[in-house]
Chain length 232, copies 2
DNA sequence: GTGCCTTTGTGAAGCAATGCACAAAGTCGA
DNA sequence: TCGACTTTGTGCATTGCTTCACAAAGGCAC
C-alpha cells in the first residue's frame, strides 16, 4: 500500500480548499480596487466569510506567500491564487441551450472578467438559431462537435432541458471535453476523468425549506403517519 | 460535558444528508412516473449517483422505511422525504432583481412543481416594474417589506447586482425572512439564525478550470515566479 | 413450518476537514 | 542591535462524513 508523504509543496490541494479559493480571490480583488496593499489573514477571512485559521491553512497549501508580522501582499496573492486556479490562461466556454437560463448566463458579465470567454452558443431550436446574444450568433446544436474542436472549447455549460442533457453530455465528452457545468436537473452519467459540477436551483430551495421548517416547528414532532386515506 | 446520545428517531439530520435528499426525491419521482413500485437501495443509489451504503445511512436518519429482502416502497419514500424536507406545505418565494437571471428563475418550471410558489417579483428599475413575467406583474422594490408581510413570503431569492445584494438582504431580514438564496457574487453578512445558500456561476467555473488545468499539465510543475517585469 | 435468499440498518474503521493554540519568523521603534 | 509586538504556518485534537462488512429481518418456495 502506497501512502503519499506530504511534501513541502504538496500539489494535492484539498477539494474544500479549492472551492474556497475563488472566494478569497473575489475578496482580494475588491481590496485591490480599493487600493489595499497588504491584508492580514484575519481581515481577509472576515471579508470572505470564513475563519482565519482555515484561511491560513488553505493558503498554506499553495505555498508560503505571507509575511509574518505583516500579512499577505494583495497583488501577489491575487496572482498566486489566479495561477493556481488556472485563471492566468484563457478558457473557451460553450453554452448549450439558449433558453432563459442560457441567455442569462451568456449575458452574465462575471465570466469574461475572469479568464472565461464564451466561444459558442448552441441550441436545437431553429427559432433560436441565428439570434444574436451578447455579441454571439446562436448556432445549431448539430455544430456542437465542430464548434468544440475549431474553437478549442474545454468547458461546456449545459443549460438544456433535462431530457436532452445526457445526450448533449455524451456528445461533448465524445468530442473531448472533460469539464462540464450542468444546470439541467439530472444526474449526468460520465466516465472517469470527466468533471461535472452541478447547479440546481430546485435543490437549493429544498434545502432552505428543510431548515425553514426546522425553525418553524422547533421541538414538536409532527405526525409521522400517512395522511388520511392513504393505504400503505 | 454533555454529549448527545443518538436517539432511535434522532432529529439531527446531517447537512450532507439533507443536501442529498432532493436528489433521491427526484430519482424516486422518475421511478414513480415509470410505474416502479419498490426499489432497492442499490438501484436508487445508482439513479441518484451515490453509493448504496451512503444512501441507506442517509435514509436511516429519517427512520426505518425499508423492508429487508424487498427494498423501499417508492410512493411511501417519496412521501417521507417530502415531509422531511417540508415540501408537503406551500412555500411563498419572492424574487428580487428581475434581470436576465431573475427572469430565468421566474420562468423555471421546477419551482412550482415542488411546494414552491412565486409570490412576488421585485425590481428597482422603473422600466422593468409593471412587466408581466410568468403570470406575475413586477413590483417596485420599495414594496419589498409589504409584499413579504402580506403574502407570507418565507424564502427570498436575491438575483440583483452585487452592489445592492447586501442592502436587499438586510431589508428582507428586517422584514422577518430567515431563508435566502443568493445569486449575487458577494458574501452576505447575516445574523445568527438566518440561512443563506449561495449559487455562484463564476465560482463553479473557476473550480472546473482548476481541475482542467490539473488534467492538462499532469505532473510537471510550472514556474512559480512572477511573470517578467512584475516587481514585488 | 422450515430453510434459503435478498436486502436493510448499523456498528466500527477509515478518511477528510475544521479549529485551536503556539512556536517561529518577521517588522519596527528606540 | 535589541526587544516588543504582530502575524503567519502548522502540529494536534476533534468533529463530521464516508465506506465497509455483517448480523438481523423479512419474503418466498416447498
Amino acid at each position: 500500500m502506497i501512502r503519499r508523504i506530504p511534501q513541502a509543496r504538496d500539489r494535492g490541494i484539498p477539494d474544500a480548499t479549492v472551492a474556497r479559493l475563488p472566494l478569497y480571490l473575489r475578496a482580494l480583488n475588491g481590496m485591490a480596487e480599493r487600493g489595499t496593499a497588504t491584508v492580514s489573514s484575519e481581515d481577509l477571512a472576515l471579508a470572505a466569510g470564513v475563519n482565519s485559521a482555515k484561511l491560513r491553512k488553505d493558503l498554506s497549501h499553495l505555498g508560503s506567500y505571507g509575511t509574518r508580522g505583516v500579512g499577505y501582499d494583495v497583488q501577489y496573492l491575487i496572482y498566486q491564487i489566479s495561477r493556481e486556479l488556472g485563471l492566468t490562461q484563457d478558457w473557451a466556454v460553450a453554452i448549450v441551450g439558449v433558453g432563459n437560463l442560457g441567455r442569462a448566463l451568456a449575458n452574465y458579465g462575471g465570466f469574461a472578467s475572469r479568464g472565461f470567454r464564451i466561444a459558442g452558443l448552441l441550441d436545437a431550436d431553429p427559432h433560436v438559431v441565428g439570434d444574436r446574444i451578447a455579441g454571439l450568433v446562436v448556432e445549431h446544436a448539430d455544430e456542437l462537435e465542430s464548434v468544440i474542436k475549431k474553437r478549442g472549447v474545454s468547458i461546456v455549460v449545459i443549460a438544456t432541458p433535462a431530457t436532452s442533457a445526457q445526450q448533449v453530455c455524451d456528445r461533448v465528452i465524445a468530442a473531448g471535453v472533460t469539464s462540464i457545468l450542468n444546470f439541467a436537473p439530472v444526474v449526468l452519467a460520465v466516465p472517469d476523468g470527466v468533471d461535472v459540477r452541478k447547479v440546481d436551483l430546485s435543490i437549493e430551495l429544498q434545502i432552505l425549506a428543510f431548515h425553514e421548517q426546522r425553525k418553524a416547528n422547533g421541538g414538536p414532532i409532527m405526525a409521522e403517519e400517512w395522511p388520511d386515506g392513504v393505504v400503505m
